[in-house]
């Protein structure tokens, strides 16, 4: 069961239209390292995890990712609100406008529809957690690319918050990986540590 809470996790209040920036931000909605992919990845993987800690962490991070999807939607919505066809044209986004008008379709900035081919769930908990660690790092790096594209504080604040969340999730997944590697039912153990030398 999920319950919607009528609030954003972090405020998004954009005062100035910027269609090009909105387009770039689409990658964190329907792109390969986006929040939607993250939510679906963790909420799918949680089901078969061997420990309660692992089920809980994937459940909770997956749930937080849905709140991030909403923040990304808020950014795109506010950055494109009331844009005219001419403004879409001036931003080089007449293709997007032609198909989707001002609606927020889960796609990448290149107009590729969202696909679950971006994610995986291979059964082996260790392999899944390694994928998640990589996914968090790729998302962090994507936020850094987006931050390089703007000087607008209204956009920088929420993007910086989301970037920081990727770092925390990476940390928690790292702790979970350690925990799973020590779990008695784990068949494979690939532990990279200094004291193993």
């Amino acid at each position: 069961m999920w319950v919607y809470e009528k609030k954003l996790q972090f405020p998004v209040n954009v005062r100035k239209k910027d269609l090009k920036m909105a387009n770039a931000i689409f990658t964190q909605f329907g792109g390969p390292n986006g929040e939607l992919a993250a939510a679906l990845r963790y909420l799918s993987q949680r089901v078969n995890m061997p420990t309660s800690k692992a089920k809980g962490l994937l459940n909770d991070i997956g749930t937080e990712e849905l709140a991030h999807v909403e923040m990304i939607q808020a950014l795109i919505y506010q950055l494109t609100k009331d844009a005219t066809p001419q403004e879409y044209k001036d931003a080089g986004l007449q293709g997007y406008y032609g198909i989707w008008d001002g609606s927020i379709f889960p796609s990448s900035p290149l107009g590729e529809p969202f696909t679950t081919a971006y994610i995986n769930n291979v059964g082996d908990p260790i392999a899944n957690i390694y994928e998640n660690l990589a996914a968090e790092e790729k998302a962090r790096s994507t936020y850094e690319h987006l931050l390089n594209l703007t000087n607008e504080p209204d956009i920088i604040k929420p993007l910086s918050f989301l970037r920081q969340r990727e770092i925390i999730h990476f940390q928690r997944f790292g702790e979970l990986l350690d925990d799973l590697q020590l779990h008695k039912e784990m068949k494979t153990q690939f532990v990279v540590r200094k004291d193993d030398k």
């Binding site: 809470e5 009528k6 609030k7 800690k53 962490l57 937080e64 919505y77 928690r172 979970l176």
Partner: protein, 92 residues
């Protein structure tokens, strides 16, 4: 004191405390025996519950599906003069 806060400031306080709750929740998922974090979580929870009740009494339900206080004589969840979270607060 919280009674005097504007809608915007009350929401911001809820967002701040709610962030603490998320952060402590994830930390506790991998450190379930950390009593300090558990105490902090309980403290944040009790403060958050007070603020959420106050908010929903003044401005309508924060949660749907039977999870939030309803005080008005109509279904305020879909009030036309209320913005949804993604629509932003242009007055800021």
């Amino acid at each position: 004191m919280d009674n005097m806060l504007s809608k915007h400031d009350l929401m911001q306080k809820i967002q701040e405390l709610s962030f603490c709750a998320v952060e402590l929740n994830l930390f506790l998922d991998t450190h379930p025996n950390n009593t300090q974090a558990l105490r902090d979580y309980s403290y944040v929870l009790s403060e958050l519950q007070k603020l959420k009740l106050l908010y929903s009494q003044k401005y309508g339900p924060l949660l749907g599906f039977g999870e939030s206080y309803v005080g008005s004589d109509y279904w305020q969840w879909v009030a036309e003069d209320e913005k949804w979270p993604w629509e932003g607060d242009m007055k800021i």
